[in-house]
Amino acid sequence: MDMQVAFAGLDLKNPIMTASGTFGYGTEFMPYGKLEELGAIVVKGISLAPRKGNPQPRITETACGMLNAIGLQNIGVEAFLRDKLPQLPWRTTPVIVNLYAQAVEEFAELTDRLATAKGVAGLEVNISCPNVREGGVQFGQDPVLAARVTEAVKKRAGALPVMVKLSPNVTDVTVMARAVADGGADCISCINTLTGMAVDIHSRRPCLANVVGGLSGPAIKPVALRMVHQVVRAVDVPVVGLGGISSAEDVLEFLLVGAHAVQLGTANFVRPDTAFKLVDEVRRLAEEMGISAWEDFRGTLELP
């Protein structure tokens, strides 16, 4: 079958992208497969200046999932563009940069830097960061702020497609989706992690130095699928689904509810060649099911 999918100015060989923060800078996975066979690579959240992230411990395992509080450790945009991007097969596979900033102006500045960089195919705006300056409210939980960030990035992004990544920690995800769509997002990715916590009854301390962290992995798939389903129906921009995907069946579930593509997150940790194998497995499953093009399958969920 024809695995290609094109949307929001992105042209993908197949609908399998990697999720930000779970695939490093891409280079870490080179021993385990061919990066150019992936639909797209979304790299670790990048900020203007390098960030050290949170103290240890930063990760803990939960039932069918994990919590992380890495705190967006990254080498900063300059080092990324200089040392990492040139190693990626950006000529053949879209490289999408996940943006993290603490204020609207900073998002704008970061966008300026990336919009002129060779080899960047798109931006993913991470508006569910735990610490932001503006009013102490998370960008990802306030539709007005979310729209402002989106506008600021979109204005400076030039030809680069802008994808905005939604947080699931909200009462109504469609409100956020409409806000960022109105703000000019070319595309929406959802979901980021659910805020969670784990404690150790013996030490009487939280398992993460940061106390709370982001829950990801198979445990959250039902929540992710529900939100993608809602967002697809609420806005006209294409949606990229993620949250708990680990198998070809999972990928097709997200496409069935209407996602144009998916991102593979925590599953990359569970086995480093998961993303590469998934491309083949999705092809095989789709062919078995008699799907010849994604348009014939996407969003064909029958509702009662």
């Binding site: 021993p31 930063r58 395992e61 450790q73 940790f269 569970v270 086995r271």
Partner: protein, 259 residues
């Protein structure tokens, strides 16, 4: 260093000297180029989503019989590993990490705490000049559970069983006596629990001994991507133990905090 691989390997044997806590796991040999201190991530294919992560284990040795690991049952993951049977399939990625920098011609002191013995088995077995190796081994469980007698046959080896707080002090005093000599022209290689490594680090810095510490941080991916296994360097950076380590020079890392 050769590139790591992700493979599915069959269990060839699983033996437990005490039928309870200690296990020697052998997998079909992937014929890896590896060095002591490198490790692999192990995840039986029968684990679906729980436990989610693979578990890291030092490559203990590799020979025609297979790839060998020693592990101790600690929690859910090692518990499930202890139930593997020959023929079961394990997803394995490795060899990972840097491993120890070894010079066969240099007198080398090995400092192992408990299962910290595991990475040194191959080194001890295959070292061309066994007289250049000396082992100090601290352990809690009965000695018979560790492959100590085999080691004793080949190299000079000391051991102390920790049954009270004083026992380990004996070991550290013995190490301190010897470390002076090694600090002139030798190497120290250490692996064990964090409190053990902290003690060794202090001794090493006090005596300015050329010392490598192998850390056992919690790991999810093993490939440098999750940033869960980071350790602070003396310069304040956070680096991945799985790719920049697990072996670090004693003066390079800050072990004062939790890992």
């Amino acid at each position: 260093m050769p590139e790591p691989q992700c493979l599915e390997l069959r269990v060839t044997s699983l033996e437990s000297p005490d039928n309870d806590l200690f296990y020697h796991l052998s997998l079909e040999s992937p014929q890896w180029q590896w060095r002591p201190g490198q490790f692999a991530m192990l995840r039986p294919t029968s684990w679906r989503h729980e436990p989610l992560w693979a578990r890291p284990f030092s490559i203990s040795d590799q020979d025609t019989n297979g790839l060998h690991f020693f592990f101790q049952r600690m929690g859910s993951g090692t518990d499930l590993l202890s139930q593997l049977r020959p023929g079961d399939v394990v997803t394995v990625w490795g060899p990972l990490g840097n491993g120890f920098t070894i010079s066969h011609t240099t007198p080398t002191m090995i400092l192992a705490g408990g299962m910290g013995l595991a990475p040194f088995m191959g080194l001890i077995r295959h070292h061309p000049i066994p007289q250049n190796l000396e082992l100090f081994f601290g352990h809690r469980q009965p000695l018979a559970n560790y492959p100590f007698s085999e080691i004793e046959d080949r190299i000079l080896a000391w051991q102390v069983r920790e049954q009270g707080p004083e026992d380990l002090e004996k070991l550290f005093r013995a190490i301190e006596v010897k470390i002076k000599g090694y600090s002139i022209d030798g190497n120290l290689l250490a692996c064990g629990p964090l409190p053990f490594l902290r003690r060794i680090q202090k001794l090493a810095l006090d005596h300015n001994a050329n010392t490598q510490l192998s850390l056992e941080n919690r790991m999810a991916c093993g490939v440098g991507a999750c940033l869960g296994c980071t350790v602070p360097t003396k310069s304040g950076e956070l680096v991945q133990a799985c790719t920049q380590g697990p072996v670090f020079k004693a003066d390079a890392v800050d072990l004062s905090g939790e890992l």
